[in-house]
């Protein structure tokens, strides 16, 4: 029992990332009808927002401290971040330590801007072109974004730790009445899951309860009629694109402490996220979220020792296998609507 709960928990954080990326993909697809292969790159850009902020906060100057000696006996060089100088060691130090959560504030404007520029500058011209062209041009864009990041940060993963206060683990075992230590779960993964839940809830609430969201939903159902009613639906869809970019970016920001970001992390996630979207049903937001968590949990179950003994290698292919089965038995995915992408 405790092993099962542990696997479910393990699957949640990966599932959260899948769900967040798939949600953004579906938002873009549902509103603009564009298959965005650059969405993984947006996730990666978000992660590098955190890396950039971390580096910015750590920008320091060197002084020679005569009181300290390095291992050769010379006076040691001490690096003092400017931020510590300006705000004092207490607050400045805390800011550096909490750079990943702070990066959320930094990433929101950046990602919104990236999203707006991308939509107005490129995607706009591809609405009337075939889906294959959209896939190809966004695929090209993803390569370009990746290579730019690689140019700046190199090819190696850059560790970006979570704040010290959040690096420990939480003992679920005690909480649920099992032996202590049987279900240990890092705080940060818990936070990631909660964060994802809040983001997903936020997007759904925004679409459900605001006038803006209502118009967007109406536009998703019938773009032409909404346009005839005198509403500038294009502008709203552009904003939705920016929101989707923002969701992907924030998912990336929060993911940095779990896995050190590197330039191709976006592509790795994108391939899986597309599978997730297709399994959930193209154009269905709840489907994308449900499929994201479902596949995340399934993946972690498949990597249990017991399962691996029976079916070796299943953890590598489970997601694709499920995708193939679902696509063949339920052609529209779990919750797909009729008439989406079926030409």
């Amino acid at each position: 029992m405790d092993a099962i709960i542990l696997q479910i928990l393990n699957g949640l954080d990966k599932g959260s990332a899948y769900a967040l990326i798939a949600l953004g993909l579906t938002l873009i697809f549902g509103t603009l009808g564009v298959v965005n292969f650059a969405h993984g790159a947006l996730f990666m850009l978000g992660a590098f927002c955190a890396v950039t902020l971390n580096a910015l906060l750590k920008t320091s100057y060197e002084t020679i401290d005569p009181n300290k000696l390095d291992f050769l006996g010379n006076p040691a060089k001490v690096e003092t971040p400017y931020i510590v100088d300006w705000f004092g060691p207490e607050f400045g130090g805390a800011m550096i330590e909490w750079s990943v959560p702070l990066a959320i504030l930094f990433a929101i404007p950046v990602m919104v801007l990236v999203g707006l520029v991308m939509e107005r500058g490129l995607i706009k011209y591809f609405y009337s072109r075939p889906h294959a062209d959209q896939i190809l041009v966004t695929f090209g864009l993803a390569i370009v974004l990746q290579e730019i990041v690689k140019g700046f940060y190199g090819a190696n993963p850059i560790p970006t730790p979570a704040p010290d206060a959040l690096t420990g683990s939480f003992d679920f075992g005690v909480l649920l009445g099992f032996d202590p230590g049987s279900i240990i779960y890092p705080y940060w993964r818990l936070i990631y899951f909660l964060f994802a839940a809040i983001m997903i809830g936020g997007v759904f609430a925004f679409l459900r309860y605001t006038t803006f969201g209502m118009v967007v939903r109406a536009g998703m159902a019938d773009r032409e009629t909404v346009g005839i009613l005198g509403i500038n639906i294009d502008r709203r869809f552009t904003i939705m694109f920016a929101i989707a970019a923002c969701v992907a970016g924030l998912a990336g920001v929060m993911y940095t402490p779990i896995n050190s970001p590197n330039y191709h992390m976006g592509m790795d996630f994108l391939v899986l996220s597309f599978v997730v979207v297709v399994v959930g049903g193209m154009g269905s937001l709840p489907g994308a979220v449900a499929a994201g968590f479902l596949l995340g949990v399934l993946e972690s179950f498949a990597s249990m020792g017991v399962v691996l003994n029976v079916l070796p290698g299943i953890n590598q292919i489970i997601i694709y296998l499920v995708a193939i089965i679902i696509l063949l038995t339920r052609p529209r995915g779990l919750m797909g609507r009729k008439g989406v992408m079926e030409e």
Binding site: D133, V137, F139, V278, Q316, I317, M341
Partner: protein
């Protein structure tokens, strides 16, 4: 001739000439000159031009004609190369059985994958093929290690049975051969400062490539090819006329899978090892890039694309800052730094960036790829010459229908 009309025959003869004379064409710079590093005429790279040309030609039969965008074609290439290496290990170091078995195995595998994937179209098809390719990749890495040798990749060993070959007496692994002629054999020709390498492996690849190209030409011009185009244009209407598009689709998929297997087989014939990374989706992405860059749906496009990308990968990526400084040495110091700084991200290790930008520009402005660009330029040139010859009214009349 050969069942081709005049224009196609001309194109085919051109391609034959270029491939036969490639060792000359690709080595335009004297061996000792500074520009020698732009010479692409060494056997390894020339073989790759041909092999990836075949791969892209095959992909084009599927994507260019039917419009089905497969993101998993590298799996067939990978399966083909594994089959080829096993043939070399078990039967003979002669490359012919290896190549044949690669084509057959890849064909069978693509039949299975295609039968399942082609139930869906559009993005679903792309995802299904991607899923199959990623699955093959993951399995080759983990569970199928006895067959694929996992991360190390499948290699030849000295104690392989090779039942058709006589026992090796030299104590080393015998090289791959074509009825006795070794793949790495060749001769060098020095003409003054120029050096040209003629490699047997390259010419084998070239012959296979020409045959594949000829076949793809025949497919493009056949009623079957017409049917595939009809699928791309309007599948619904095709169904209304009482034709079932599925078998045609599947045939195109299997043919292109066999082309991929052929490329895989040639790859191991030239260099007998096979690794799982050949099946990864980035490899599938590469063939998509090649086909689109050169021009999907055109005869020559995929080969041009394959050539451009492989040239970039091998030659362009070698340019470094020192060389740039040399080129700009005529400029004043400051300006030189500025230029090198501006160009630096796009060269050397950054060649992917250049490739990505080029690819985007092609998709945005030239959906027909480089080949369409060339045709447009040629048309422009022709029109200009015409207007100069007839000056005036005729040229205007000629220009109007094009508007």
């Amino acid at each position: 001739m050969l069942g081709l009309d005049n224009r196609d025959m001309k194109l085919f003869i051109w391609v034959v000439c270029i491939t036969v004379l490639a060792p000359f064409i690709l080595n335009p710079f004297p061996a000792e000159s500074e520009l020698a590093q732009f010479n692409a005429g060494y056997p390894d790279l020339m073989q790759r031009f041909m092999i990836f040309g075949i791969f892209a030609i095959g992909f084009n039969i599927l994507f260019g004609l039917t419009g089905y965008l497969s993101f998993g074609h590298a799996a067939f290439l990978g399966v083909g190369s594994y089959a080829g290496v096993w043939m070399l290990k078990l039967v003979s170091m002669n490359v012919i059985p290896a190549i044949i078995i690669s084509v057959i195995v890849a064909g069978l595998f693509s039949l299975v994958v295609g039968y399942i994937s082609l139930r869906r179209s559009g993005i679903y098809f792309s995802i299904l093929t991607l899923a199959f390719a990623q699955m093959s990749f993951a399995l080759a890495y983990s569970v199928l290690t006895p067959i694929t040798n996992g991360e190390t990749g499948l290699q030849l060993a000295l104690d392989d049975p090779r039942i058709l070959d006589s026992a090796s007496s030299t104590g080393s692994i015998p090289p791959t051969n074509f009825f006795g002629i070794e793949m790495r054999d060749g001769f060098e020709l020095a003409l003054g400062p120029w050096e040209f390498v003629f490699n047997f492996g390259y010419y084998l690849c070239a012959v296979v490539m020409l045959v594949s190209f000829y076949l793809s030409m025949r497919i493009f011009r056949s009623p079957f090819g017409m049917m595939l185009r009809a699928i791309k244009t309007n599948q619904q209407r095709l169904r209304y006329t009482g034709k079932n598009p599925r078998p045609y689709n599947l045939a195109a998929f299997v043919i292109s899978g066999m082309y991929a297997g052929l490329a895989g087989g040639l790859m191991v014939a030239m260099d007998p090892l096979a690794g799982a990374e050949r099946m990864q989706w980035t490899a599938s992405g590469e063939v998509v890039l090649m086909t689109i860059l050169g021009g999907a749906g055109t005869l020559l496009g995929p080969m041009v694309g394959a050539g451009v990308i492989k040239y970039f990968e091998n030659i362009f990526s070698k340019i470094n800052d020192a060389l740039l400084y040399e080129w700009f040495s005529a400029m004043p110091e400051g300006l030189q730094d500025v230029f090198v700084f501006l160009i630096h991200p796009f060269i050397g290790k950054g060649w992917h960036l250049t490739l990505g930008i080029m690819f985007m520009l092609v998709v945005i402005f030239l959906p027909g790829g480089v080949v369409e660009g060339g045709q447009r330029l040629a048309a422009l040139f022709r029109r200009r010459r015409q207007s100069r010859e007839t000056d005036g009214p005729a040229a205007v009349k000629d220009a109007t229908p094009a508007e």
